[in-house]
Symmetry: C2
Subunit: 241 residues, 2 copies
């Protein structure tokens, strides 16, 4: 069976059996593609679906009445899009593809069917949702308590850890399509400030983000600088055998 990014990711939590893998594969029926920059889900929308990201990057965000935007998180292959509010009457956020993306569409009824067939999969999806929340918590700590350079370093390390899990990164670095504007909206900085902080981290020999690639120049020192403790990503091995 093809090992999708989602299967790789859930494997960090639970050793899925063949029948469970079949149920998971059945969630991948409705394949769709979306082009960069056009919302898949809009804040306030009802009857919204969730999606599993197969390839490309997306971002989830909220817009205030005065037009300010806060990017909540970026999604990479293996992540759910819109899982948080698929069970809500209306979506509490918008989702925009950062690049062209391939997804599979998942309806609430698909989730209910899958959970009925294999409760362990329900637990795995709850784990994935918990991990998404743990990342938002770190973004709150970022914006609330870390200075701009630590914030950026923590954020680039988190993305690295997530991408390693789905085979798209290493301790050397990863391909990253994010612009400085997107980084600014995620980290609560201006684009000019993002540029300055990236230069500062590069000149300190810690990390270089250039030409669509994040290179960890000194992974250990960067980790120490950002006080990055990856345990909230819970990638150290499956709890459920």
């Amino acid at each position: 069976m093809e090992k999708t990014p989602l299967v790789r990711k859930l494997g960090a939590f639970v050793a899925l059996s063949d029948p469970e893998l079949s149920v998971l594969a059945s969630l991948h029926r409705r394949r769709r593609t979306f082009v960069a920059g056009r919302d898949l889900v809009q804040q306030g929308q009802s009857d919204q679906a969730a999606y599993i990201l197969a390839s490309g990057w997306a971002c989830s965000y909220k817009v205030l009445e005065d037009g300010q935007r806060q990017i909540v998180d970026f999604q990479v292959p293996g992540d759910f899009l819109g899982l948080r509010s698929v069970l809500f009457n209306v979506s509490d956020h918008s989702i925009e593809p950062v690049t062209d993306i391939e997804v599979t569409e998942v309806h609430v009824s698909d989730l209910l069917d899958a959970f009925a067939q294999t409760p362990r999969l329900a637990t795995a999806v709850l784990w994935a949702a918990s991990r998404d929340e743990a990342m938002v918590v770190e973004h709150l700590v970022n914006v609330g308590r870390r200075d701009a350079a630590e914030r950026m370093a923590h954020f680039l390390l988190e993305l690295g850890g997530r991408l390693v899990l789905v085979g798209l990164g290493s301790r050397d670095g990863y391909a990253c399509p994010l612009t400085q504007y997107l980084l600014a909206d995620a980290l609560g900085l201006s684009a000019v400030h993002v540029n300055r902080v990236l230069r500062q981290l590069r000149e300190a020999g810690l990390v270089t983000f250039r030409d669509g690639f994040v290179s960890f120049d000194d992974y250990d020192r960067l980790t120490e600088f950002a006080q990055f403790d990856s345990s909230y990503l819970d990638q150290s091995g499956p709890l459920l055998r």
Copy 2:
């Protein structure tokens, strides 16, 4: 059957059947009490349990290496404590009772058993986790994009909405045990700043927080001032019948 705060809360998402209510009641076997100020769960702890809060208030927080603290959220009756990381190898956060509290302790095996018996309950727990995440997202928007007065107003309205759902508040207000120090650690403000902002909101005739009670002096104007859209609390009625 006794209608616990959790049953009241989940009722906003799903009309639970009698068998489902029995399974939920079976989660309430291990009753425990904790005194204010002593952590139930510590960041980095393994083999942690989750808890369902029956009475009292708690807070979840993260501490940085330099000792700074960010309160992620407060929990009120009907909320889970530690649900986010009960499926993780180690807890990513700490939980402290704000008042003396009564809880029931829930182990991962209890959750797995309950999900196996009724998949709809698994969906309801996923909904509760999604709602917790939606609140953390709003706290990120608070700290990232709202000024101090809007931030405080939004936060007090959110708590009000949550308490109404479990029968502990109304549009007039609610009993609130939070100190200015706790509000400061949640909102990324100093205690002095919290004091100033509360005075400002009171003098504007919007809301008064005094002697352990939050009084909405003008609920509609406060809602408009904070741009508070409660749809992320998803309390408008059950999606699943």
